[in-house]
């Protein structure tokens, strides 16, 4: 979604509080859409687009206290307005109007840069904004099921909510999409990835107790317990509950509060303008490979096994998998517990009723082992074979993971200490160069180059001449393709582990057959004949060739020369061209 840009965006005097000049404008940043629909329900006017960064820069001299209150400990509370009265929607509206328009009027009278005072200037209609209408979400082809939905779903999801409990549940309106509301009002999340955390560690001299506090019931205050550090979201959820702030309020209070304090003390501090944290840029795991490992006594390698299970346990390399994520939450949700703490065998409410087996094996989840592996298979380099395969795990793949305790010879070699670049120097950069460094050396099977195998097994070039009609025979560079795919597989840790056997690679194209080392994989024409009418999903030879070759080329993309997608890229045309329908 494109962010709507305000019309009068001008490059401005950055931070220079030239308050006498009424023409100075400051960079706006991302707008906050003030609609507070839980109080105001259906809006009479469009939501206000509030540019916080612009206000913060304009009022840099006056400081945050101009708009935000301070609590008893002289810490800023980032709620607004100062005299916020949310008894009724009208009083809330008035508190906003008094604060905003009041300030603007004062500043305008004093000749300073000031904002709008009329209704329509703040409550401006965006190009994509229409009045919100509730339209049915269920497409018409689910019509026969509509009665079932009405009976079963609406029974609980009532409207209007009768109790506070109901109000937190989705009511029927959330099943209806606001098709006409086309503005994306969401802000990009600020991700505490490994690098950001490391920078905080270094800046605060590894004093974990400054941030990682837990509430102790016995002492009735926040205490630091070493070894229990977890994500803020572990306790602070989406809404304020009594004294426990929502994550949103908490993070602004704590993070910006600390940054402001440190910058006043002239120490190295983080940013406090909105767009400097909410950059929208998330670091990929590859960019975080060099960040020193966060030490929280987490295991390096462990064996995941369940008593009484039929399959052997899974030897899980935790240290290796840390390199595959940007944050611990990538796998551990918001706690840093092990999976079986919340996901019991039968399922429990803490685990959202996801039983343990499903937590590990759910192929569509981002947090499960299998789910993450499935997502990696959708990369362009893998999609050539994997996009054509059915989305279900073959039975043979179970033992690849469930191989029991590994022997001592498969130890990995950690990075030597002095191999790490100085992170302080690189703190301004967002991307690291990875050329020439594997990061971790470990014992994983490396597929041999096919020439090392029996030379008559993988043919070099094959002439595919079975269906010649409009086109000449195709020169199929079989060995070149096998080599290229083997190369790709060898360069990736995940594929190297799973493609341990050369025959696994062969079955990418020569599918549906038990392939052993002893036999040559059968040619396509063995099963895909020219004669059978395509009744089931078994195409004839023509369809088999084109679906396999073109399907792979389409999925992997790349240059036309390397992976042709046009007709003549694979086979030359015969002249004169034969009829499409000739001879059949």
């Amino acid at each position: 979604m494109e962010q709507p840009v305000p019309a009068e965006e001008k490059p401005a005097a950055q931070g220079s509080a030239d308050t006498k000049n009424a023409d100075t404008t400051y960079p706006a940043g991302r707008p906050i859409y003030i609609s507070i629909s839980e109080v105001f329900r259906d809006l009479a006017r469009p939501p206000v687009k509030f540019y916080h960064d612009r206000h913060a820069r304009a009022l840099e001299q006056e400081g945050c206290e101009e708009c935000h209150l301070k609590d008893a400990a002289e810490e800023l509370i980032y709620s607004f307005p100062k005299q916020r009265n949310d008894r009724t929607p009208e009083t809330l509206m008035n508190s906003y109007h008094d604060s905003c328009i009041g300030c603007h009027t004062e500043r305008a009278a004093a000749g300073k840069t000031a904002g709008a005072v009329t209704c329509g200037e703040c409550h401006a209609m965006d190009a994509g904004y229409h009045s919100i209408e509730y339209l049915p979400r269920l497409p018409e082809y689910y019509e026969p099921l509509r009665d079932t939905y009405h009976r079963d779903c609406v029974a609980c999801h009532k409207d209007p909510p009768k109790t506070a409990h109901d109000a937190t549940k989705l009511n029927w309106k959330s099943f209806y999409i606001r098709e006409k509301e086309t503005i994306d009002t969401s802000w990009p999340k600020v991700v505490m990835d490994y690098k950001l955390h490391y920078q905080h560690e270094q800046a605060l001299d590894k004093k974990c107790e400054l941030c990682h506090l837990t509430f102790s019931e016995a002492e009735d205050k926040m205490v630091y317990v070493k070894g229990t550090e977890s994500s803020c979201r572990d306790c602070h959820k989406d809404t304020d509950v009594d004294n426990q702030l929502s994550y949103r309020h908490l993070s602004h209070n704590e993070c910006i509060g600390c940054h402001l304090k440190r910058s006043k003390e002239h120490k190295k501090a983080g940013p406090f303008y909105c767009s400097e944290c909410h950059t929208g840029i998330e670091k990929s795991p590859e960019e975080l490979l060099y960040v020193p490992r966060e030490e929280r006594n987490q295991p390096q390698k462990l064996l995941i096994e369940t008593t009484g299970a039929r399959l052997k346990g899974v030897p899980f390399d935790h240290q290796l998998h840390e390199l595959a994520t940007s944050t611990c939450q990538g796998c551990h949700h918001d706690t840093l517990n092990k999976c079986s703490t919340c996901h019991t065998q039968k399922g429990s409410s803490e685990g959202d009723w996801v039983p343990l087996a499903e937590a590990y094996h759910q192929s569509t989840s981002a947090w499960s082992c299998v789910g993450c592996h499935e997502a990696k298979k959708q990369a362009a380099d893998c999609a050539g074979c994997h996009s054509l395969m059915k989305t279900e795990l073959g039975e043979a793949s179970c033992v690849t993971c469930h191989s029991g305790a590994p022997d001592a010879s498969s130890a990995f070699v950690p990075l030597p200490e002095n191999a790490l670049p100085d992170l302080e120097e690189l703190s301004g950069e967002l991307a690291f160069s990875l050329s020439g460094y594997d990061g971790m050396a470990f014992q994983l099977p490396l597929l041999p180059v096919p020439e090392a195998m029996l030379p008559d097994k993988t043919q070099e070039k094959m002439k595919i001449a079975l269906l010649e009609k409009s086109y000449d025979a195709s020169e199929f560079p079989h060995l070149k393709i096998v080599k290229k795919l083997t190369d790709i597989s060898n360069n990736n840790r995940l594929s190297r582990y799973f493609h341990a056997d050369q025959m696994t690679m062969c079955s990418g194209c020569h599918h549906l057959g038990p392939l052993t080392e002893k036999q040559t994989p059968p040619p396509c024409s063995t099963c895909h004949t020219s004669k059978n009418t395509p009744q089931k999903n078994t195409p004839t030879l023509l369809g088999a060739y084109h679906r396999q070759c073109l399907g792979c080329h389409k999925a992997m993309g790349g240059e036309e020369k390397e992976r042709p997608q046009s007709c003549t890229g694979c086979h030359k045309e015969k002249t004169p061209a034969a009829l499409q329908t000739a001879g059949r």
Binding site: P139, T533, P534, K536, N537, A577, Q580
Partner: protein
């Protein structure tokens, strides 16, 4: 009273009218037959690469279409515009961009007559130039056609094209389902020519099972819906797609058959000339009744022409 020939005939026609009222027959068609026995074509649009071999094969087979050279079909720049069938082609391939992907991988879809199980064109045609064959094909007979183009207005997919340039013998043009070929056990030309085997020809019920198996095996590849299974009463050409069907040019229709909106009136009430018979019987009856009353109130000394 005296029963004359005239009264007898009046009574007879009145009875016939009443009988016709009592048995409103259903709209005849081979719908129920083609539902079970007809052929269908399953089009898997995720496989199509937009090579236009189907268009070329259709042009080769149907010799009454204007001849086009193979080079004409190699020109893929026509895919930049969305096309419709016209007098020169029974099928076209259109290209669509998948709306959610930033790399905009193109998606292709082939269009032709959908050979509906309850065709709107056949229902709308006032001279019955369309017929549903047992194979599922909706056939057009140009000898009966009077060029009123009601079929073009009625078709929900806007399929029939017309030879506007032909002043004296214009014909409606639409896909014939290669009826001679499939009746002889062959395949439609487009189905056979496709290198990716996007289309699968076979009994409609078997194709539906095949389609459901595909939806189950590759759930993230397809939208979980078979287009044409029930739309507008069911069509012979069934579509699978990775994008929502509206985005590939297949409109969102309800399941009610298109003729089902008009046939309850046209084919039931107006059947067997019932309204005129009914109306004239009613008027005739009224006239007879009031005539009789006049006779009764005539003066006693009236000497009519027929005194008996």
């Amino acid at each position: 009273m005296n029963s004359t020939r005239r009264t007898f005939l009046k009574h007879l026609s009145g009875t016939a009218g009443m009988l016709a009222l009592g048995s409103p027959a259903r709209a005849e068609d081979s719908y129920s037959q083609s539902r079970v026995n007809g052929f269908g074509v399953l089009v898997d649009t995720t496989l199509c690469v937009g090579c236009r071999s189907c268009e070329q094969a259709c042009n080769e087979i149907n010799t009454d279409l204007p001849r086009k050279s193979p080079e004409h079909f190699k020109d893929l720049s026509v895919l930049e515009q969305k096309r419709r069938m016209d007098y020169s082609t029974y099928t076209i391939v259109n290209r669509y961009q998948s709306g959610t992907e930033t790399d905009g991988k193109p998606v292709f879809a082939k269009f032709q007559c959908m050979h509906c199980l309850r065709p709107a064109c056949k229902s709308a045609c006032i001279v019955g130039a369309f017929s549903s064959e047992a194979t599922g094909a909706v056939q057009y007979d140009s000898w009966k056609c009077i060029g009123c183009r009601y079929c073009m207005a009625a078709c929900p997919f806007q399929v029939p094209a017309y030879e506007y340039h032909n002043a004296f013998t214009p014909k409606v043009r639409k896909c014939t389902y290669c009826q001679p070929r499939i009746s002889a056990g062959g395949l439609p030309a487009c189905v056979q020519a496709c290198p990716m085997e996007v289309m699968t020809f076979g009994p409609r019920e078997a194709l539906l099972n095949d389609a459901r198996a595909r939806l189950a095996s590759y759930p993230e590849r397809y939208v979980q819906h078979i287009y044409g299974e029930h739309e507008v009463g069911g069509t012979s050409w069934l579509y699978l797609s990775g994008l929502p069907f509206e985005q590939i040019g297949l409109p969102r229709f309800g399941y009610h058959p298109t003729p089902g909106y008009t046939e309850p009136i046209q084919h039931a009430i107006f059947k067997y000339f019932l309204p005129p018979i009914g109306l004239y019987s009613l008027l005739g009856g009224l006239m007879w009744f009031f005539n009789n009353r006049k006779k009764k109130t005539a003066p006693a000394d009236f000497k009519g022409l027929h005194s008996s």
